[in-house]
Point group: D4
């Protein structure tokens, strides 16, 4: 495994990444042909590495299976995985959503975090228009090491949660909504301007990015714990 | 008083407005010279009508006083009044703010509503980053007939309040904030996309407009009660 | 019915809402599978509650019917209802539109308001480019307790109507138009900047939200009348 | 005067313009030093041509006078003129405004049109929030050959006027307003999306541009009349 | 024909328009069902009036024909006409385009202008990247009474043409282009900021609106000529 | 200290915050009068709590000193502190900047993090246009527990750093730049779209928010370490 | 070949272009019917000129072949060519991409540059999130005469490359990405604000435009070399 | 001179830049204190290197002189230079402007290009509204090796010039204008969408960046010529 960046012509794989960053490599599936995706997955399989594919279509997943690759696929999360997930030893991530329409993004976050080694608590449909739903689960929320808050429309859940906990909060605006939501711009701006502290924001609909950010925090904690 | 729209050259006054809409006329002061403002106020004084001036500068107020007009002026609210307010018989408006920086807009709303005949409850600095502050005053909030929610930054207070009450909520985004608040765009979009129902929005920083909207609702209630 | 927020896994229903806010619960249908929608409707049916579904597709409505649910469906308004509407005792809402293309949003508002207990007057296609059409119906417009003004393109109807009546006006910008309408941004900004007072704005195309806002006002009037 | 484009180093004057386009040359004053402006005015004076300066500051006007140039200056319109206006034979332009704050732009339009040879009717402060003010002057408005409608905030006056007349309407959005007016964006979009026909739009605050457009129309009429 | 605004339920026709504005009524076809469109056309046919339908799809046109209406349809311009055009006596409009992709909008302008009574000169594909193409036709361009300049991408043709002629120019930005054209925003802003004078702008892709504006100018000329 | 939220009229202080969130309270100074700021600081002093003021002007700091408060003030960072900082036991935060103009924001982050208990490494002026500057300090960068990347203009430093380390990265776009930087929009979008993983973003110029986010991560690590 | 601008009715061809600008004519294919495209290609074939078609669909290419035209077509680049490319004597252009999804734009650039006479080096998938990939190829990159950097998402590659070389860099933002990429706006702003010097930007996805810009530079070098 | 990146604490100078990129180092002056600027200039003076300061205020220049530094300063261009310019051997750059208000940006470009070794031709005030001004100087324009086109408002000059020459064109949008120019957004979009080929764009008002881009092209030509 001397050459850790095999060049497939259309892509240069980064097989040294797990060693370098401690996390499995991932593949962003949109825009890749079935053939390209299969070639990439085979390279990882050949290297004995697990890999996570995001925004994967059912057709892409089916093509990978038809090519004899032993992949798992979650349709709502649009997540494809090859190989075993990391052992669930990093800590606990809670994923919250404002409404049910945020589910695909939340599940992308939840399944990515689980694949990278986190335990995951799901608190779905606890939007701020009915505060009692969130308050009823506040102990569960406070028990998590890191919070991922997924919300579209006005995106107010991020501020409210960050004000209730002392753990770091990763906010994910979603493109859920219509009209003046402008494809997720409204919750994005809302979360960036949160009056609560201890919250940072990833790209609209980027559940996967939130999961990686959360897991980097948990790995930091793990490293520091092991040094004490 | 046969001619109800005297033409001052630079402006046509609408002296029939109280009769037509049931509410006192108002003057938007920015861009008016002291001379123009004084001429307008004198016309109302001559007609024996009360009038409310918004966004009035201390200099404009001082000039009006120096011209012998018996005006009152509130510096934080930037509100000038001439003549007596309407009797406080319309009902109760609660004005809430997310933070202290929203005060000028909130006071414009509160003083305008009072001038137009409402009783006003102030619940300031009850932003969602510290929910306990709002929850501690929820009874007071629920006791109001109409809510005016004034908030900048992420503007989440509107949604949360609308979910806690059954009264109509008028939301006022403010230009408080910096960076991605973009002059009030963030709370404006947030409030327009509120997942809670029973909330409508006025222009950024438009405390006065919220007060008029609230008072129209109270007058509607008054009319309907008198018809029963 | 001790547990008023049954958790269906993907959603937490708010069966205490009618008791808490005085209005029936509603379901925002987009993004829900037929199975999810049916499960939600069944839960309301089991609780003996009426429910209103907005932005419902014909396919969703058909699936609900096929599942044996006794729903009614209005295709233009994209509104699904289960159970009886509230008795029409709240008062009168007039729904106005600028043009015929605003019809789906206007009908969503009209049918929602009716379901929630309002009597509804429709004044369609009375846009400001032909003022005589609006002026011909001004008595009807002034007879309403609350006005809902639905307009796309330049959205000027809101200002004009708010200047003609003393009742509160809820303005609904629509995404009708092309080019520099930018998906409803033009009428949204226009309505937010209305020089007329007594007008507040809901999200683009949000006919349902306007109806709830109007009905909250009417319920306020009802409450106040009953206290006198 | 063989060389009609004298090069002053920092600018190339277009002295052939009156001959080529039938209208006097104009100078956009912002960003020009007093020295540059004086040099330009002297070149026109030397060529015996009238010239109109727009957006001229009082200091610039004063400097021109101090340099011995026989200029006239209107402070509200920020218009400087040198030499006689064209005879008022082109036809009649009516300039309408929504509110008094639109006055500087309206006066720029009115004085420019007058300088270029139009008769001007002013109908100020006839915004759509009080339709009776506009309707009271509808005969005057209909008597004009061309309409210039100047409005900020929601800019609805353009549509309403275009629906009332059969003459062409030039709409000028202004930067009057605050919050979601976004420096004139709101009335600009509103006017571009006017549901009325027979209206075209110039840049925000561009009263001068509207005047030139109106006068080109009147000159077209004059040319065609002289050919019949 | 005593009732000039028959109410079809979904629309109120304005049969008095030709008498009031001197121009035929028009129908904006998008969003109308075939049934609605046919009902509208039949009402005009019954009143003996010509009518112009814009943005008409081939299916809508086919349905009108199948319903026995004697309509004409131009597929590129997406224009449907019923009844005879006005006699071509108003004057000459030249329609210019920057590129061939602007053709549908240009043809909408050209055919609308012709239907309303103008003679039309077409100067297509004369964009500023190859100035010789425009300069070769400058005499033809200068011979027109009114210019309609249709351009997408950077929209520079408007400024260049307005600098070459003394006639009024109506500029139509188009949504032709990609990337930073942002659906026509680029040419729209470009045309609004044209450094040339004597140009006004209509909505993106609004060829019809440009035609009406041009014809209003020509009718103005006609009226003034008949008064001399 | 039974009442932990004293109400100063204009603000409700949250003295229970250190106990609740483990971090000192902070005051956002803009828009507060000297009197208000002094009253707030005195309340904290009376409660024996440290407090951090952000965006504090020299005049505000001077007024606090003149009122006898024992405050420290850093002019570049615009940070005021009252009371002792937390002991530096949380871990190490590295603050990086693209250029020298990002210094005020970076110093706000650095001093806030230090006040909250972090050790701070400063790597300033290591922008991507001269990669050698960053690569020369890569060991120092990799030695930090959390990275705060402060950059204006194109904001590319965030992506590059996140690709070089395995620690979590908090990115702070700044309003440094001109033209198409649009007040920080360019680096904000750039950072949100970072192709590197493990990065989340706070508001434009929000150095303080980045510090709180970083310290929440370090406190998480501390908590987890103490549980092992 | 006396008439160098044949008018096909819908388009005016510019057959003098090669003589005038030294580069082959090109056809932007979108919006052209197969018939129009074939007519254009035939005119070039008749004139014995090579021509390059961009954004050509497979159907358009197939139609051209079916019409007997001897065209070549590259599906990824969406580039159609007729006739021989220019000899590869201009110099060397390196095309770099951030990721594999940028391939279609990069290939449009690469194939266009090759057709116009450049030698092309491809360095794909060398985005800044894994700097080692770019640094591994830095000699190849520095060996090129002109760099074309194609990147979506945060578009940081432009700055980094411009800082590593002394050759001019043409940056092409792509619409690759989602959420806050806003169709390429993020990398566009990023590249325009590049802190590195020696970089200029073309439209989003405009690989062809970058190739022409690069080749103009190479032709400049060739001209100057031939003059020495 | 072994350490080529001296660290001044607030900045790391890049003294190896001339060797690495062949061009003098430059300093972006805004946001730097007089003390910082003087320290930077002294470091360059000590290293015997010339340096160019952009956006330098008169006060900064005066402070540098008062500190004994032998600097030259051009107030219109806001350019400060220390040390001798490069010999004028690179080739000829023509700088064109649309209007006189673009002068500061154009002079920044012209003086920067001259300092870096180019000969400069100035063609100012040749905007497209008066094409004859540009056409009169077309030979001069065509004689240049590289064109820098500086234009605000609608920015059309870029397209027109790129269509007239075969040399590469660097377009600089300026913030000159008002209203819908939106701080230079209008000419920026216009230039990015130029229908002419052979043009690339730098940031709004970035005259200096255009000069560097132009000089990189000329240096490329010089390198290639020396290799032949």
């Amino acid at each position: 495994m001397s050459d850790v960046s095999p060049d497939l012509g259309f892509a240069r794989l980064d097989l040294s990444r797990p060693r370098r960053t401690g996390m499995a490599e991932t593949v962003y599936c949109p825009g890749k042909t079935a053939g390209q995706l299969i070639a990439i997955l085979r390279a990882f399989a050949a290297a004995g590495q697990s890999v996570l594919g995001t925004r994967c279509t059912p057709d892409q997943a089916e093509a990978a299976r038809a090519a004899g690759l032993d992949v798992a696929y979650e349709a709502v999360a649009r997540v494809l995985t090859l190989g075993a997930p990391a052992p669930a030893t990093l800590g606990r991530v809670a994923v919250l959503t404002g409404g049910t329409a945020d589910l695909p993004v939340a599940e992308e976050a939840a399944r990515s975090a689980a694949f990278l080694g986190a335990e995951v608590t799901r608190c779905y449909d606890v939007g701020v228009a009915g505060l009692h739903r969130l308050l009823a689960r506040v102990d569960e929320v406070r028990a998590a090491d890191v919070l991922i808050v997924v919300a579209g429309m006005e995106g107010a859940l991020g501020s409210v949660v960050a004000g209730l906990v002392e753990a770091p909060v990763v906010a994910v605006p979603t493109s859920v909504g219509y009209g003046a939501a402008f494809g997720g711009l409204a919750p994005l701006l809302s979360m960036l301007n949160a009056c609560a502290e201890g919250l940072a924001v990833v790209n609209i609909d980027n559940g996967f990015g939130a999961a990686v950010m959360a897991c980097r925090m948990l790995r930091l904690a793990q490293r520091k714990a092991s040094h004490e």
